[in-house]
Symmetry: C2
Subunit: 242 residues, 2 copies
């Protein structure tokens, strides 16, 4: 059987150069959108509708939907809540459908929709995700949401961690410099992840707004085996692993 | 005095998100365009005209200019020579004006021209470059030429090496994740640079075409204090250090 390749794309703005319609695309925005989405499904949300613009989010709100929306970490006034995983409690989200719009993450999800399958990845579901990708046997493309199209370290470290896990399987290979760089950065960081995360720009942005309480939680491994998957334009839990 | 910031841009396609008209922009394409350009000035070339397209390069050739032009490592048939630093001997280039077009490097140079000063960087002139930037006191933006707008490791490692040298000076700081990532990758690679370079995709592309003889040379430090600078649309040697 032909081997499957692993690639990592560091920014939504670079996606056209990495696009691969045969690949499973894993979108990650560790601080905080992808960690929040995985948490929402852990806590029983039924569907999440990711929307790119605040105008779309507001128009859903006007039609009675529950809406999570933030920009630069700040909850928008029309929204029910923002981007912290701690907002997505089971009391609030169980059995519900939520519209979600964030600075970087939700645009990346919509952009990725050309892939053969689009999954949401976080440390919270990383092992289930790696196992699913290995079982699929398909190419893997990790799309980092980044920060306003710039490279960010926290998404890159996650991309490195996931690439390493999948590369353990001999069916997979990589000749992608960005995947190699991500794995090497993850190896440099993993023995003291919280120390390393002190350096990243997003940690300082969150701290300035007293939103950094979630950083430890967003780096916890394997709290769930649930994997959010994009069906059409809506995120639902992947069924074959539930 | 206000401090000056260091940023690294991993791809020409990301340049709009990093653009900084106050910054000294250092363009690098270690394998091989920026190493070749620095070598040409070491060997007495007077001016280099970087052009983006092969059509422009051909039109200069038709008007009698000496032209270096390659795509994907291969010399174009109308050109006098290609992209190996070994082509730019003093016998060939001394006192001459050369038109130059490459897969990634020359487009990046033209893109960078919005900076307050645009310099060409390679290991061959890294210390002179770092000293000049420190003396300028201005922001530093390193633009990696990458590979067809994808991230590449060899340019990133150079960006990390240069960022570290400049950051030694307390006037400079960075909160740029890409600069931090580049420095951390450089630290992981520097004890065995040639071993590390074995991993990078461009090394394999060059090897396939028997063009990998220059890799060691392109990673030699400080063979010159010459710094190519863009004046208008033409590269000349920076005078204040000559």
């Amino acid at each position: 059987m032909e081997k499957a390749k692993i690639e990592v794309c560091y920014s939504p703005a670079l996606f056209p150069y990495y696009e691969n319609r045969d690949a499973v695309v894993v979108v990650t925005d560790i601080l905080r959108a992808s960690s929040a989405i995985v948490t929402a499904f852990m806590n029983g949300v039924e569907r999440i509708i990711p929307v790119g613009t605040l105008e779309e989010a507001k128009s859903y709100k006007d039609r009675g939907f529950m809406v999570a929306a933030e920009r630069d970490g700040i909850v928008r006034d029309f929204a029910d809540f923002g981007n912290s995983p701690y907002n997505f409690t089971s009391e609030r989200v169980k059995g519900k459908e939520i519209v979600y719009s964030t600075t970087n993450g939700t645009n990346a999800i919509n952009l990725a929709s050309s892939g053969s399958q689009v999954l949401i990845g976080a440390y919270l579901n990383i092992t289930a995700l790696a196992e699913h990708i290995k079982e699929s046997g398909k190419d893997l493309l990790v799309l980092c949401a980044g920060w306003k199209n710039k490279f960010n370290l926290e998404d890159t470290l996650f991309a490195g961690a996931l690439s390493k896990m999948v590369l353990d399987d001999e069916h997979f290979y990589t000749i992608c410099d960005a995947a190699i760089g991500a794995m090497d950065l993850y190896e440099a960081a993993e023995t003291d992840m919280m120390g390393y995360i002190e350096k990243v720009a997003q940690r300082h942005r969150l701290k300035k707004n007293n939103l950094d309480d979630v950083i430890g939680y967003c780096h916890e491994f394997d709290l769930t085996r649930l994997i959010p998957v994009l069906e059409g334009k809506i995120l639902v839990p992947l069924q074959d692993l539930s």
